[in-house]
Symmetry: C2
Subunit: 234 residues, 2 copies
DNA sequence: GGCTAAGATTAGACGTCTCTAATTCATAAG
DNA sequence: CTTATGAATTAGAGACGTCTAATCTTAGCC
C-alpha cells in the first residue's frame, strides 16, 4: 500500500516529467511539493526501493512504468472528481482543485467507476485537462502550446487553464478566459505581460499566468468575431 | 488540526458512550478500534491534552463537549455520505460503510453542505441511523430497542440495522430485514437464536446479529399481515 | 586540470501512531 | 485487611514523513 504522500510525489514527478526532460531533479520536486531537498531524497530512496522510480544518485529520478501507472490513476481520480464536483454538486470550476487534491487519494475503485459512469466517461475535466482512460494507459503527449508561445496576431482556442490559484482562476473565468474560448493575441509587452482579446473584450495577463493557459491554433472558419482585425488566418 | 486517527478515536468513544455508561474504559476502546491497550492510553493522553476528552487515570475517559462535537461531525459526514452513495451513485445500502469510513475524514465543509442540500437534508441514512443536524447538536438518545429485547409475540418495526459486516447485511437485505419492515417475534430459542417473521416469510437469526437490529413497537392498525397468528397487539 | 558554486545527500532529530514487554494500580475474594 | 487477578500504564522501540546542519558530488569556469 502506498501512502497519500507517496502518491503525491508520484503525481508530482509525473507532471514534472511532462514539462522537463528525462531525469527529474531533486530540487524541482522539492519546489513543486513544497518540501526541502533532503525530504525528497529520502522519499526517492523509498520509491526507488519499491520500484516506482528509477533513480540515479545526484542525477534525478524517472518514473518506472509501475510508478507512472500509479500517477495516472491519481490524476484520473483528480480529474474525474473535478468533473463530478462541477457537474453534480454545483461547484464552480475555479474551486475544485483543493477538494480533489484530498479526495483523489481516498476514493475506491468502485467510487471512481461510478462517478465515471455517472458523468458518461468524459474526456476532459472542467479546466480542459484530459482525463486518463480507465485502462490507465499514459495519455498522449500534450499537443497544446502555452499562450506565451504564440505570436501577436495569432488566433487560438483555449484548451486548458492550468492555473491552480483560486483567485486567479476566478478572475480569468470572470474575464471570459475559459476552455473553448477563442482568443486573439493582441500584444506581447516587454514588461512581462501579454494582451489577448475575445469578442467581449480584451485582457492583459502577466506572463506567469499566460504560461498556465494552453491553447491550439484556431482552425475553424466560423469565427467568433469575424471582423477581428488581427486575425492571422482566413 | 486533528488527524484521521484521532477522529476515529473520538467517533469510537462516542459510540461506546451511547452503549455503555459514563467513563469509557481503555480496553473497550482498544477492542472497538482494533488496537492494543497501550496505544489507547497514549492516544487518550493526547486527546486529554487537547481538551477533547476528560480522563481519569485507570478509570477511563469521557468526551468533552468539544470532543463530542467533533464526533458528531464525523458521524454526520459518515451518514450523509452513505445516503449520497446510495441515492446518487447507485451503491447498495449494504456496501457503503467502508467507503464512508474513509471519506468521512476527508470531505470539506463545502462538500458536506452540498451533498446535504442535494439530498434534501435527510433525517436518517440508508441503515436507518439518524443523521446529526448541521448544528452538530448531539442527537437525542436512541429510543429504539434491540430486537433481542422484545418478547415472543411482539410486533415491531425495524428502525436501524447496525450490522457493519457486508455479507451479513446482504443476507439480511435479501431476507427482507430492512429499515421500515414490520416483523413479529416468533421464537427465542435457548441455543442462541431467535426467529422473526414478516409477510414474505420467516427468518432465524443468531443473537449477535439480532442484537444489531434495533426496532420500535409497531403502533399502526394497518397490519402488514393481518392474519398473523402471533400478534400480541390488536 | 584544478577550483568553486550550486545542488544532492548524509547525519541526526522530532512528532505521530503503533507495537511488545515490564510494571503499577484497583478491586474483588477470601 | 490482605492478596491475587485483571486492567491500565510506563518503558522502549520501530516505521513514516518531515526538518536543519553538515558533508559530498557535479559541472562549469578560468
Amino acid at each position: 500500500m502506498l501512502s497519500d504522500v507517496m502518491e503525491d510525489y508520484l503525481k508530482g514527478i509525473y507532471e514534472l516529467q511532462r514539462e522537463h526532460e528525462a531525469p527529474v531533479k531533486t530540487s524541482l520536486i522539492a519546489e513543486s511539493l513544497d518540501v526541502t531537498a533532503p525530504t525528497v531524497t529520502s522519499m526517492m530512496e523509498k520509491l526507488a526501493e519499491r520500484g516506482l522510480v528509477a533513480r540515479e544518485k545526484y542525477k534525478g529520478v524517472e518514473l518506472t512504468d509501475e510508478g507512472e501507472t500509479v500517477a495516472v490513476e491519481i490524476i484520473r481520480h483528480h480529474r474525474l472528481l473535478e468533473a463530478f464536483l462541477v457537474d453534480h454538486l454545483d461547484y464552480e470550476w475555479t474551486e475544485v482543485h483543493e477538494e480533489a487534491d484530498v479526495l483523489e487519494h481516498h476514493i475506491s475503485e468502485e467510487f471512481e467507476a461510478r462517478i465515471a459512469e455517472r458523468l458518461g466517461d468524459p474526456a476532459v475535466d472542467p479546466h480542459g485537462d484530459p482525463i486518463p482512460e480507465a485502462t490507465l494507459e499514459p495519455p498522449a503527449a500534450d499537443e497544446t502550446r502555452s499562450l506565451a508561445d504564440f505570436s501577436v496576431g495569432d488566433r487560438v482556442v483555449v484548451a486548458r487553464v492550468r492555473d491552480r490559484n483560486e483567485d486567479e482562476l476566478e478572475y480569468l473565468a470572470e474575464a471570459g478566459i475559459v476552455p473553448g474560448r477563442q482568443l486573439v493575441i493582441e500584444e506581447k509587452a516587454p514588461i512581462g505581460t501579454m494582451t489577448v482579446s475575445h469578442e467581449d473584450g480584451r485582457q492583459t495577463l502577466p506572463d506567469d499566468v499566460a504560461a498556465t493557459i494552453r491553447a491550439e491554433p484556431a482552425e475553424t472558419d466560423t469565427d467568433e468575431r469575424p471582423d477581428n482585425r488581427h486575425a492571422s488566418e482566413p
